[in-house]
């Protein structure tokens, strides 16, 4: 019964990945990275239940934290390195 959500999450991750590849602006990519990260957290939680060892949820917690921190990091470093160029190609 955990298989169906897992498969759906994989599909969602694929879509987010496609958005990250395509993303016309950099913010789209950041958004895709964030979405990808949250979906990975859910996927890992579900994989833990699939494998029958739910004690490994620590990893999902780390993911949630690290994802937040890296998104903040991207925003902070992107913010004042280039105020004017939003579009990717110069």
């Amino acid at each position: 019964m955990f298989v169906i959500p897992a498969i759906i999450l994989l599909v969602v991750m694929a879509i987010a990945l496609a958005r990250a590849f395509k993303g016309p602006t950099l913010y789209d990519r950041i958004l895709a990275v964030n979405t990808f990260g949250t979906k990975t957290v859910l996927l890992i939680a579900i994989i833990d239940f699939l494998a029958g060892r739910p004690a490994f949820l620590d990893i999902a917690i780390v993911y949630a934290l690290i994802n937040f921190i890296s998104v903040i990091g991207i925003l902070r470093f992107f913010e004042f390195s280039s105020k004017t160029t939003i579009e990717e190609e110069p």
Binding site: P5, I15, D28, L31, K83
Partner: protein
């Protein structure tokens, strides 16, 4: 009682996955960054919350439940805040939301470009 819990968590898991999926479709199909943020963040909260609650019903009392609760709190706090910060940063850097009049003018243009 167990069967009832199973059915309930099954429903929650499936509906959560459904909402997540809609969010992904929105993320992919919507025309500009702000509407994509909207799609991603709103469904993120609901979908993740439903899936995690569904898993909690399976977990039973114990450390696992506490950890799932922690993940829920983190994801509720972190993902929404990150989306807010992202939208704010994008607005500040000069990215304009697509308004209705823009859309009429440049609908063909944007769809053909991407």
């Amino acid at each position: 009682m167990d069967i009832l819990l199973d059915i309930l968590s099954w429903i929650l898991l499936i509906s959560g996955s459904f909402f997540t999926f809609t969010g992904a479709v929105g993320l992919f199909r919507f025309p500009d960054f702000f509407s994509r943020t909207h799609a991603a963040s709103v469904t993120d909260t609901l979908g993740a919350g439903l899936i995690l609650i569904g898993l909690m019903l399976q977990a039973g009392w114990g450390l696992v439940l506490a950890k799932l609760l922690l993940i829920l709190v983190f994801s509720l706090l972190a993902s929404t805040t990150a989306c807010h910060a992202m939208a704010k940063a994008a607005l500040k850097s000069g990215l304009k939301p697509l308004t209705y009049s823009d859309q009429e003018n440049s609908a063909e243009e944007t769809t053909s470009k991407h």
